[in-house]
Every structure is written in C-alpha cells, then in structure tokens.
C-alpha cells in the first residue's frame, strides 16, 4: 500500500514563489501553450488509466466502471470541451455599441489571476481535482493542487505523474494533512477553489479573508428527492437507487433522502427493491459490485446514524467494518433528520402532501441539488420557483454535474461560485477593464474640467440617457396574464355597452 509522502512544510513557501515567478514570466499568457498543457493532462490520464483505476479501487473500493464513467471520462470531456473553446473564451471582449463612449475603445481583457490553489475532496479525487485545475490553466494561471490525504494511493499517483507531463513550475502537487493545508492557507493566492465539507469550508474562507484571496466553495448538504405519483415509477426508482449507490453514496449531489406521499410509500419502496436487485444479482458485497466507505471513521458515522434511526429498514442494512462496506439500505417511515448522510442509506419520509416536504426543505439550508420525479408540469414549475438549491433536476439524479454548459455550484451553505466549462474558466479569470481615450475626445469631454460654471451645470444632462415614463404604481399581479383576460375585458365592455344602450333606449 502506498504511504502518502507529505510535502515538507518548509518547502511550501518556496513552491508558491516558484509558481508565482512562472505566472509573472507571462508564459501562461499564451493560449496555445495553455492548450498544450491541457492535452498533456488528458494524455496523463489516457496513458495511466489502469494505474489510476487501481488507485481509486485501493482508496475507495471504486469499481473500475465507475472510475471510467465518473472520474476519468468527465475529465477527458472537460479537456476536450475546454481545449475546443479556450480561444474564444480568452479573447478580449468589446462591450455593446454605445454612442457616447464608443470613441473610448473599451475592451475587457481576460487575464489569469496568479497562482491558484485547488483543494480536492476524497470522493472523486480525479474529477473534482482535475476539472477545476483544467479551468484554472485554461484561464492562464499556475496551480497548486492539494489532493485529499484520505485517498493516499490516488494522491501519491498524482504527485508521481504530474511532473512527467507538466512542468512542475506550472502545476505542483502538494500532499499533506492539516498542517500542510494550514500552511498553504496562510499564503496569498489568485483564487482558491475548495471542495469538501461546510465545516472546513468556513476555515478555508476565513483564511482566504485574511489574505483577500477570492474563493469558490463546493460544499454539501442534504439533497432531497420529491416523488410525485405521476412519475414513471420504475425509471424513478432506478435512477434514484443509482444515484445512491454510486461511490457508496459518497457524492455531494447524491439523493440524500426521499419525500413521498404516504399512500405511495410502499409502492415506491418496492420499486427501489426491484432496482436494487437488478443492480446486484450477486448481492452488493460481490467483488467490485459497489464502492466502499472511504475510511473506518466514515463507516462508523453512517453505521451509527443507521443504528439510531427510528424508521424501519425496508431492505439492506448489512455492514462489514473490516471492508468498510455498507449495503444499499432503504429505511421507511423516517421523520426529517439532520446531517448529510454521505453513505448508501436512503431514508424515505412519508408525508401527507408534497407541500409539507417543500416547506421542510425551505426551512433548512439550501442543498447542492434538489430532485423531483414527476410528469406534472405545474409541479415542476412550482419546484423551480418555490425552492432554492444549487441545481434543480427533474426525473434524474447526479448527471447534471457532467453535462457540458451547466454550471456546478451551490447556494447558501451548499457553497458559492461555479465551475465546469466556461463557468470554471470565468471563475479563474480576472476581467480587466480597459479604455484608450483619444485626445480629440476632449472636444466634447472638456466639459468635465473645472471651473464648474453654472452654464456647465446645465449641460451635463444632455450626455446622459432619458428614462421610461414614471410608473403610476407597481405592475398589477395580473399584468403578465395572457390574451384571454383581455378578451374577457373587451367582451365585458361590449356587454356593458350593450346594457347601457338598452337602458337609454
């Protein structure tokens, strides 16, 4: 087993200085160069798929299929997407035409921020470390990557592989625990992207506040699932069970708990069982059938939550501490509870009406994801309007994190900022405004100079735009309504007119 070698504390400032020097040298300003680095990262994965897969299996019991589908595949996708678009994204942008200021030659340059720090989580060591890293490089930064010490095999492998593919003065892997991370957080960075728990997120944000380092926090929360009986039950159960068992439930956007109308609970649980049985014909503890808890502490935490539940275990419940295995477990008749599960246990909470579920969710911290299984478009609309969450997904779980063009980020305690694709690029980009003011502009703009005569005071308002008419009051609630109301109104007028005529006749 790989013993994770920690980076010596004394080296960390030196590493930061080196990467800063590379940034200041301007080497990363070249977009072709960034594209080269991106491809190197892609080939680092392609050339070492087997070893990376084995490391993930060692650290998390992650089945090779999941390593391909949820780790290596998404990163290659990010490399491809970013490589294809970075030229466009990095181009300076010109704001829309505006007569008054057009001569000022306004432009917004896209620049790197400096040396950026990416602190990765244990659950998806490859995709959650490398996707942000790819964005940071694409935006023209140098990067220190601090992968999790809870995944020693994978983190060691990063430290070994990266220098073979990318100059260590551009990307450096720093391994370590609390002391090393604290040291990193004492320094000033162009940007920090942290993925992990809210508790540590606060520590990172506070340290960043001291150095005025901007942060993006990808945290967690309890992602609820609403089941509306109008859904396709079989598909819903399969997708929910899938979301729950991937990586042994250790996904920040895993469906955490399910809210289902009372009368539908049993039917739903049966469908979950059917899905479970189709997934694990040889049982969930068959070799490579399912991931494991990352360490004994995590196992114990989930185990304890399971023991303490007042609900009824519908199926599952088997555990094995030596292999850190927990079988997919569905617990029904649960009442609402508090901490993020991060394990393959699915509480099912029966309610009188889904309104009750929505009210509960709204009383608590905004989750990273919110799921609803329904074919009722009114209900979908209500979910989108009446709740807040990082993402809101209908009839599916988890996939939103891997889709091109969708931002990945939280709100409130589930996090702030976004990454993935252009959102990631923008996160690591400094938008530098620029003008280039010709001398002749002062023929008009000389009005700005003192002395401030009364004549000048009258003149400035010609430089500035007019406004819409003064509102007579707030728009009425029905002002958005459709044509039908107008038709009714006109009909009413005609009718009233008709009545008036008859009266006067």
């Amino acid at each position: 087993m790989n013993e994770l070698a920690f980076t010596p504390l004394g080296d960390i400032e030196q590493i930061h200085a080196e990467l800063d020097a590379t940034f200041r040298s301007g080497q990363l300003q070249s977009v072709p160069f960034r594209k080269y680095v991106l491809l190197q990262i892609g080939y680092m994965l392609k050339d070492n798929t087997q070893r990376l897969s084995e490391a993930l299996y060692q650290d998390l019991g992650k089945p090779p299929f999941e390593a391909a589908m949820t780790e290596i595949g998404p990163v290659l996708g990010e490399v491809a997407d970013t490589h294809a678009h970075v030229d466009k994204w990095a181009k300076p942008t010109k704001p829309p035409f505006s007569f008054l200021v057009q001569p000022m030659r306004r432009v917004v340059y896209k620049e790197g921020k400096g040396v950026c720090l990416i602190i990765g989580p244990f659950n998806y060591p490859i995709s959650m470390c490398l996707n942000p890293l790819i964005s940071a490089i694409a935006a023209g930064n140098t990067v220190v990557l601090k992968p999790s010490e809870s995944t020693p095999a994978t983190s060691s492998l990063f430290a070994e592989l990266f220098p073979k593919y990318v100059d260590p003065s551009i990307i450096r892997v720093v391994n370590g625990g609390v002391a090393e991370t604290s040291k990193l957080l004492e320094l000033t960075w162009g940007h920090i992207l942290f993925t992990g728990s809210g508790r540590v997120g606060r520590i990172v944000a506070a340290a960043a506040g001291k150095t005025l380092t901007p942060v993006t926090l990808e945290l967690g929360g309890k992602s609820p699932v609403f089941i509306d009986p109008s859904c396709d039950l079989e598909t819903a159960a399969r997708r929910i069970m899938w979301g729950k068992i991937v990586n042994c439930g250790q996904s920040c956007v895993a469906p955490d708990y399910v809210v289902v109308p009372k009368a539908f609970q049993d039917q739903f649980v049966q469908a979950l069982k059917a899905a479970h049985d189709s997934f694990f014909p040889d049982g969930p503890f068959a070799p490579k059938a399912m991931g494991k808890m990352v360490n004994v502490a995590a196992f114990k935490r989930v185990y304890a939550l399971l023991q303490a539940t007042k609900g009824t275990i519908a199926f599952g419940g088997q555990t094995d501490e030596t292999t850190k295995s927990i079988a997919p477990t569905v617990v029904k008749n649960v009442s609402f509870e508090d901490s993020e599960l991060f394990g393959p246990v699915l509480p099912v909470i029966p309610v009188e009406s889904l309104e009750e579920g929505i009210a509960y969710v709204n009383k608590h911290d905004h989750p990273l994801a919110l799921y609803a299984f329904t074919t009722d478009s009114k209900f979908k609309e209500k979910i989108v309007k009446a709740t807040k969450s990082g993402s809101v997904v209908m009839n599916e779980t988890m996939l939103q994190t891997g889709i091109d063009g969708l931002p990945f980020g939280g709100i409130g305690p589930s996090g702030s900022g976004f990454h993935n694709g252009k959102y990631g690029f923008d996160t690591f980009t400094h938008f530098r405004a620029s003008i280039d003011s010709p001398s002749w502009v002062d023929l008009v703009m000389k009005i700005r100079y003192p002395p401030y005569t009364a004549k000048k005071e009258q003149k400035t308002s010609i430089l500035f735009p007019g406004l819409p008419k003064r509102p007579s009051g707030p728009p009425s609630a029905t002002s958005n309504r459709s044509l039908s109301k107008w038709i009714l109104f006109v009909l009413a007028l005609i009718f009233a007119g008709g009545l008036a005529k008859r009266r006067s006749a």
């Binding site: 998404p74 944000a205 005025l212 309007k385 709100i411 305690p413 620029s434 002395p451 003064r470």
Partner: protein, 478 residues
C-alpha cells in the same frame, strides 16, 4: 451642519432581515416587470430629489454641484437605463446551443435571485457607488439591506428618508449605524455581500463573512499609479491626470495616486500640471464650490500629515485649512520610492511625482507593490502600452485617461489581489447577484443510451464504458 445621523436600533436588525427574507420567499421580486418598476422608481427618486442630494453631498463632502451631477446622479441613472434595456435578456433562462450529445437532456440554466443581499457603501461616492450595486441586486431578483457610510451623515439620513417613499421597505431597507451596527450585520448570513471601502476593513469583513459562508465582492483600494511615456501628449496627460486627482478632493478609489515620469520630462510635466491647475481654478482652488473637501477632520489630518512628512519638494499647492477640511491640489516632485506619501493610499488631492529612468523601472516599481485598482498609462507608442498590459496586474488598465473607465458603459469594476475581488456594473453586476441554477429534465427513453450506467458492472459494460471517455485532440509533440 447636518443633524446627527439616526442609527437603526440593534434589536431591530434581525426583524429587518426577516422581513426582507419573507419578501424574497414570497416570490414577489422574481417578476421581471416588478423589478423594472423598482429600478425606474430609483431613477425617479434621484431625479426628484436632486436638490436635496446636492445639498447633502455639499454638507458632507463639500462636493461641487457639477460633480454631484456628472459623477453621482447621472452615473446611477445611466446604470439604471442600461439595466432596464437589458434586464429581460439577462434574466432569461439560458437555453444552451444544440448539442447532439446533450440536447435530449433538456438542459437549461435558470437565473434566480440569491436572497437577501447586504450592500455596504463607502463615503466618497454615496450615490453612484452605492446605487449601482443596489440596482444590480434588485435587477437580479434579490431584496436588499443597504448600509451607507456614517461618515456622510446628511446623505445617509437622506437615503433613509427617500428610499421608503419610492421602494417598498419590504424590498429594500436602509440601515444606518456605526461599528456596532456593522458588527451585528456581519454576524448574519447574507446571500451576497458587497463591500466598498478600505483594504483594511475589507479583510475584517471577509473574515466575518466566512463564518456564515456569505459570498463576498470586495471593492477596495490601493495606490493607482500613472506611468508617463515620452510618446504621450503632455498637455492632455497633465490636464486629465490633474482632473482625476482633484475630483472629490482626491477621495476616489481609482484616483491617480502617484506618477512615474521619465526624469528628463519631469519639469515639463509639472509645468503642464500647473497650467492645467490655473485653468481649473482661476480664482484659486479653495473658493467655495470649486472643489470638494476632506470627509472628516481625521481624513484631513491624515493627508496633511503625509504631506508634512514628505521628503519631496512641493512644486505648487500646499495650502490647507483644517476648519474647512480643505486641501489645495498639491504637486510634490522628486519624491523617493520610500517616501511618506508612498506609504499608503493617499485619498487626498496630493500628487507625488517620482522620476524614473525608464518605463521598465516604473513597471518594476509598480510590481513590487500590491495590485492596484487601476493602472494608468499615458503613451501613444503601442509597444509600451502592450508592455504595461502584459507585465502588470490591476483591476483596470486605462490608456491616456484616468477614472473614466468606471463611467464607460458596461465595463466591469473589478479589483484583484488587495484591491478586491469580483466584478460590478452592467451585466457583471447582474451576474454577481444571480444564482445560476443548473437544470435538466431528461426523458425516460434516454436510458436506452444512459442505461449503461446501471450496475451490474459486467465486462460488457466496462468495454462500453469507453463511450464515457470522449476523444481528445492528438498528443502534442514532445
């Protein structure tokens, strides 16, 4: 002298936030029409109360009427006009371009408000610098607590009086106070916090916000340098630089702080500055209404102290009147790099001039310090401009003019490093206050393809898993 500012009682602040949160949750501000109405109301609030605003800003800052119009009211109204024009477009859900692979998922990004936002305003441009982020926050569908500066009591009292007449206090509330009120506000969680002020206080705010996981945008300060290149138009340069310096008596976060000029051009440059100065102030700078004043006696003393301690030589200016809190525009030449005037952001109408041998020397000096909010380059030579752009980092970089980039439509106001983080104004401001909510709604039949993801993970599935590993361009040559 204005009456003392009435502070919001500390025990009211929780209920203020609860009110605004309830409004947000009611969904009222998700209506685009309603947001447009609110923004139009703010514009008319400024129009209708122009005289009261002029009086308040004159009382607080000695701000000349002309500056109140050009740099405060008109900038805020322009922002509102731009936002009104674009709001429907910006707020519309982002429907992503057709993709053979992804379109079946019915992916979309909703633009939603984040919740109750806190905007903490500075003393120097109470109208434009406060109202512009307020406009962005409301445009993006949030409710707002606005905390103006206690150093501008007349204006902050006027805000508290004006806003409720135009905007439902359930949507926007003005909270006034000092350190205690700020501490109370910082103890609470906000959907977003915009702070404009000094770097020192920015740190305190950021650390406090971290406790509640409140995302922040910081508009801080720094020493914005001016680099003069021999190829510039000297007269124009001097006039524009002096103009940027005298605005609001130098109390502008993007004021040109100090100048790096080639040795051999120093005398000519100073001469041009003097000429511009005399054109600006035919009756002298300290006549009433000619120029702004320092905001407080403390501010006056701070700047006067820096001037007293300088090792440079005063070329012109230097008059000061503590009672009136007035400092005349003062140019100091032959200032050494480690002078008192170089020890902190001046934020006053004193312009130190440092002579250098080359542009490179100037760039090297600028890079030794913290990233400033702006860098100014006066040059016609394109190579020199490009060199400064690529060899420095700053919030903004402006050629041949100062300050105006913050008034140029739809450019972001953004700091970097110690000068701040995040971006405001126009669409940048709108996006700052927007939660980009990813969504999808894939049909069942998609599992004919995506069904490969389900266990059991057979050999067949593993072979097919290469479907999930997209191809990338060919390997670069070694």
């Amino acid at each position: 002298m204005s009456p003392p500012l009435v502070y919001t009682p500390l025990d009211e602040i929780d209920s203020v936030r609860d009110d605004l949160d309830a409004t947000f949750r009611s969904g009222r501000v998700s209506s685009i029409d309603y947001r447009k109405y609110l923004l139009t109301q703010i514009a008319y609030m400024l129009r209708d109360n122009t005289v009261a605003i002029e009086d308040a800003l004159f009382s607080d800052l000695g701000k000349p009427k002309f500056e109140v119009h050009m740099l405060e009211i008109d900038l805020a109204i322009t922002e509102i006009a731009i936002v009104l024009k674009n709001l429907s477009k910006w707020a519309a859900p982002e429907k992503l371009a057709f993709s053979l692979v992804w379109s079946a998922t019915r992916r979309v990004v909703y633009k939603q408000g984040k919740g109750v936002c806190l905007i903490v305003g500075p003393f120097n441009y109470p109208i434009s610098v406060c109202v512009r982020p307020i406009v962005s926050a409301i445009a993006a569908g949030n409710t707002v607590v606005f905390k103006p500066s206690e150093s501008t009591p007349a204006m902050s009292a006027l805000f508290a009086e004006m806003f409720p007449k135009y905007i439902d206090p359930g949507v926007l509330r003005v909270v006034n106070g000092g350190v205690e009120v700020m501490e109370k506000l910082l103890d609470m969680r906000w959907a977003h916090l915009v702070f404009t002020g000094s770097t020192r206080v920015g740190r305190i705010v950021s650390i406090a916000a971290a406790k509640t996981l409140t995302p922040v945008t910081m508009e801080l300060g720094g020493k914005s340098p001016v680099l003069i290149h021999p190829s510039c138009d000297m007269q124009i340069a001097a006039r524009r630089i002096l103009w940027g310096k005298v605005l609001n008596a130098g109390q502008t976060c993007i004021a040109p702080d100090y100048v790096l000029v080639p040795k051999e051009l120093q005398a000519e440059f100073v001469g041009a500055l003097k000429k511009a100065h005399d054109e600006f102030y035919p009756d002298g700078p300290l006549v009433p209404g000619a120029m702004g004043k320092m905001v407080t006696v403390e501010a006056f003393k701070r700047v006067a102290g820096l001037l007293k301690a300088t090792q440079g030589t005063i070329a012109f200016g230097g008059d000061a009147d503590e009672v009136a809190k007035a400092i005349a525009p003062t140019v100091v030449v032959d200032v050494p790099f480690d002078d008192a005037l170089m020890s902190e952001e001046i934020f006053g109408p004193v312009l130190p001039i440092i002579s250098v041998d080359t542009l490179d020397e100037g760039i090297e000096f600028v890079n030794k310090g913290e990233h400033p909010l702006a860098i100014y380059v006066f040059a016609k030579d394109e190579q020199s401009k490009k060199k400064v752009i690529s060899q420095t980092q700053s919030g903004a970089i402006s050629m041949n003019d100062v300050v105006l980039h913050a008034a140029s439509h739809e450019l972001p106001l953004s700091g970097i490093g110690a000068s701040g983080s995040g971006a405001l104004y126009g669409k940048y401001g709108f996006d700052t206050f927007t939660h980009f909510r990813a969504s999808m709604d894939p049909p069942n039949w998609l599992d004919m393809v995506l069904g490969i993801r389900y266990p059991p993970y057979t050999e067949r599935n593993i072979k097919l898993s290469s479907y999930f590993c997209p191809s990338i361009p060919s390997r670069p040559p070694p």
